[in-house]
């Protein structure tokens, strides 16, 4: 971890000193334990604040579009690099304006799992590639890193950046996961009524702050459908119909585009497992379109952005 941080700083300083980029987009240590913040380094001095550890759960690709005319270096592990590929493929940013500092990733910590493993109020977290030491008032426990990483990271099969200009460490071994959507199978078995009940329950605490949307690098519409007001498309209350309209329509819009970066779940102030519905369309795309996974290369054609005359069209009667 420390080596990755040092290397990121070194590359960032060099790029800024040589004026190859206008800014470096990465992470800095946060003001509270288990939380880092997105960071924008404009000078070599500022680059000293860049960090890499298990709390870099924000997705820096989410901040690229406002800087599309700048030369930006971005710190990107597997999922973030895929989002960068997505933004390039969808013509939101230009490859030539970007310098991708690739980070082979070991997964981000789950604050919930860390809290559950902790005997008290956490005062400090120390981690290396294998272990996490959780310190509380007066005591500390050591846990295997693997046991404390987020669900999406345990299911991740693309830890290494798919597109980069420079890597900060040796690539890591990709996880071999026979069925990475196993967690969906229980829900898929439910009857439509039971499934509706399940989904209602997932979102029952939603306060419609839209943090999931706003933290998501593929949710970049200048005007989201829930914000349309002339005419208004979606009710504004916390009535479950409107709450679910928001989440379900958003989930459909992420089909074949979501990289499972987990930024939505990390941003949610209510601890909602947003991925329990965004994973399903992603799985469907993978199953129905020859194993397609979002944004693994600049060349792959995204199935939902492609039209073929010989596509099966049984729905046209």
């Amino acid at each position: 971890m420390q080596k990755r941080t040092e290397k990121i700083k070194e590359i960032a300083k060099r790029l800024l000193e040589e004026k190859k980029v206008d800014l470096v987009l990465g992470h800095r240590k946060g003001s509270i334990v288990l939380k880092n913040a997105p960071y924008f380094a404009y000078t070599p001095q500022e680059a000293d604040r860049l960090i890499w550890d298990g709390n870099c759960r924000n997705n820096p690709a989410n901040f690229l579009i406002p800087y599309k005319d700048n030369r930006v270096a971005i710190v990107a592990q597997g999922c973030v690099s895929r989002n960068v590929v997505g933004l390039i493929s969808e013509n939101q940013v230009k490859r030539e304006n970007l310098y991708i500092i690739g980070v082979p990733c070991l997964g981000m910590l789950s604050p919930e799992k860390v809290a559950a493993a902790s005997p008290g109020n956490i005062t400090e977290i120390k981690e290396d590639n294998e272990k996490v030491v959780i310190t509380t008032n007066g005591s500390s426990v050591t846990q295997a890193r693997e046991a404390l990483i987020r669900d999406n990271c345990t299911q991740c099969t693309h830890r290494n950046p798919v597109l980069y200009d420079e890597l900060v460490a040796e690539t890591v071994k990709e996880q071999d996961i026979p069925d990475r959507y196993a967690y969906l199978s229980e829900i898929e078995k439910l009857s439509p009524e039971e499934r509706a009940g399940y989904i209602d329950n997932v979102f029952k605490n939603c306060i419609r702050c839209y943090a999931c949307r706003d933290a998501c690098p593929i949710c970049y519409c200048p005007e989201c459908f829930v914000d349309k007001f002339s005419p208004q498309w979606c009710g504004k209350s916390i009535d479950s119909t409107d709450v679910l309209s928001y989440h379900l329509i958003r989930a459909f819009h992420t089909a074949g585009r979501c990289t499972e970066c987990g930024a939505c779940e990390d941003a949610c102030p209510m601890g909602i497992k947003v991925r329990m519905i965004t994973s399903k369309p992603e799985k469907d795309v993978k199953e129905n379109y020859e194993g397609y996974e979002a944004w693994l290369s600049l060349e792959a054609k995204p199935p939902l952005l492609t039209f073929k005359l010989d596509d099966p069209q049984p729905f046209i009667k």
Partner: protein, 345 residues
Amino acid sequence: MKYNILNKTKVDQFLEEVGKKCAVWGPKKDADQVAFDSIKDAKEMHLDGYMNTSMSPKNLFFPQSETMLYFNKSGEDANIYREVEKKPAAKAVFGIRPCDGAAFALLDKIFKNDQYTDTYWFEKRDAATLIGLGCNNPCSTCFCTSVNSHPFDEKGLDVLASDLGDRYLLKILTDKGAKLLDGVTSLDDAKDADISGQEALSKKASDSITARLSQDRIKEKSVLELYNADCWSRIQESCLNCGTCTFVCPTCHCFDIQDELFRDGGVRIRNWDSCMSWLFTIHATGHNPRPSRKERVRQRFMHKFKYIPVKRDGDIGCVGCGRCVNLCPVNIDIREVVQEMNASK
């Protein structure tokens, strides 16, 4: 000032007695969320390890979505908006933290002025008796002592309970509080040692809060100087403009009124709104006076630390509960922002 002792072995009996007068509410834990809810049995209350509710308790009096008017499309009064009948049941709420009590006291002033009283707030507020619970162990993100409040602040509460280990010291603060406790037999008399014990706890708690937010220069500077300060361009960089900070905040009180139509009628409802959204200020013409992230981020902090203090004689629009510090997805820490405002050129 009248004090009582509630022995922890008598909490069941106490709740039963109070429950005969009105509904009893307290902090309840559901999965990971702690929220105020009605309590039938003392065991339902989440007091062991209770720090505070995940969301602020403002929804007790200011629900996120609230129906104000309704109409039917048929019948005698077809297509005429009628007021929703407002008769909230009396309730006693146990365990309100002093920061949130202070927030209620501020909102009482905001929801009432010389021209208008927000009946939607006060009908529920007046029907509730609040038994606050002092904070023996403030969280690491608490900064109430920097914003005119305190771990044992009494503002906005009717009774303040202090946890003395095996018993609570109850300090009656208002007539409403006295009425609630009047004739309750499960209470004992307080001794001088209980009161001095509470004072020591209160001092220890406030000393344990290390955050010290200087605001001297915020006070000195004019609104425009702060508005045009250089700090905002960096503070706003990482803001997602989501509504988390405003929705979890005990003092954020903006709402948006919407008409919703159904097959047989319709309702007029008010929903929490958030100054973080571009939609909050968009005009019908398409012009938006807060067109970018910067204006929206600036608004929230200026409102709390400059506009409210200027307008309300030094009151601060923040009570230091620390919820936004904990829950902001990108770690925009209001304590750091205030320091940057104070130091800004």
